[in-house]
Symmetry: C2
Subunit: 217 residues, 2 copies
DNA sequence: AACTGTGAAGGGCTTCACAGCG
DNA sequence: CGCTGTGAAGCCCTTCACAGTT
């Protein structure tokens, strides 16, 4: 099949498949059918086959998918066969939590530097990573071959932070600020909006729900 | 129009509209057209009109929407005209960051209690909120009229934590654990998956991208 | 016999285009 | 005249159902 454009919902599911395959590998399973994987992921098996078919023919008819081979393929497809370096803008609670979580590099991403404007924070460390003055953002990003940036600054500062990140040549950005941001042509901006997620729960509680549960039991 | 079932993408956009209206109110704007709001949100104006039309006729033809009135309506629709109490399961970096951020209750949500199994943490405070023994989850939730729970525990413990939360009668849950979870019939489970978001960036960098930017400039 | 890969159907969300109204 | 509210079209994603393969 090999579709021309892969949608984001598809790549997000690939991440999920990879994680489930890691579990299966740990359990010692050698092969898995789309039906079984679908049960684990709470998805339709055709969905899984279609997603995988975008990238090649990984399965064996009558048998299923070889766990190790599919795992390796998904890693390659997602670009996870090497560690990516991250810079975090904002050394507040959230930025620090992320720095801590991704400090080791064991999760495929390694935080190389955290940035802040607060002089009392600069020079300290979070999760073993140094906090730098945001003025040095560009030079440190370039020196460290950093490819991914996280926006963990207050909403008011988010747009200018984004522009600084883009100016430093970074093209992949994860944003936690709850504001609409405008990114350039060749930049991928993913926003994680906790307030929206919570407000969505509030709406559900208000009664309009029994809405869309993720994985009905 | 008043659709029977409101989709999650719609309610998520309502959150966004509300936030933008707050900004407009702060600026002192009295009314706003769907076109103008669309520009601010980087959306199509028909989208906005359709979303709002699900809940009533809030606009004035030829004029637009009155900022204050629409703000009040959106708050009511989203159930944000009162503060919701939250319990956080897991007093790690993430749980603590969230407790800190939502401690005051000024954002429409108030963290009332944080829970952990680690005895060295129990009794301490994060963001002014006490960390309790997870054994007391149900009783504290009931005593505190807590309606929303956050899962901020390691992946391995997520499913059992979810079941504990459900057993305590909570029906609205925000999950940060990167595993497929199975929730009951009348429970709303929203998952925020940071690893998937990052892996999606990795895929983009791999070259398959120029994919879907959120807000092309 | 079992399971993958896929054309076709189905369903939902977004955008267009314009009727309707202030 | 200007902007909302909305039927219809368009597009995309998911699911079905089965042909194809080992």
């Amino acid at each position: 099949m090999r579709a021309e454009r892969i949608s984001e919902v598809t790549t997000n599911r690939l991440s999920l498949y990879l994680r489930c395959l890691n579990e299966l590998a740990l359990k010692g399973d050698v092969s898995v059918s789309s039906e079984e994987l679908a049960r684990i992921c709470f998805l339709n098996s055709a969905q899984i086959r279609k997603d995988l078919a975008c990238f090649g023919e990984f399965g064996v008819r009558g048998v299923g998918y070889e766990v190790e081979a599919l795992r390796a393929n998904l890693k390659r497809i997602l670009g996870l066969n090497r560690v990516h370096s991250i810079a975090i803008a904002g050394a507040g609670r959230l930025g620090s939590a992320l720095a801590d979580y991704y400090a080791g590099g064991g999760r495929g991403f390694q935080v190389k530097a955290v940035f802040d404007i607060d002089e009392t924070k600069i020079g300290r460390k979070v999760g073993g990573v140094e906090i730098f003055d945001v003025k040095n953002f560009s030079s440190i990003v370039k020196k460290g071959n950093i490819e991914v940036a996280v926006i963990a600054v207050p909403a008011e500062a988010a747009q200018e932070t984004l522009e600084m990140i883009e100016a430093a040549g970074i093209r992949a950005i994860l944003n936690f600020a709850p504001v609409p941001l405008s990114a350039g042509e060749n930049v991928k901006l993913n926003t994680v909006d906790l307030s929206t997620s919570l407000e969505n729960l509030s709406f559900y509680l208000k009664g309009n729900g029994n809405g869309s549960r993720v994985h009905p039991r």
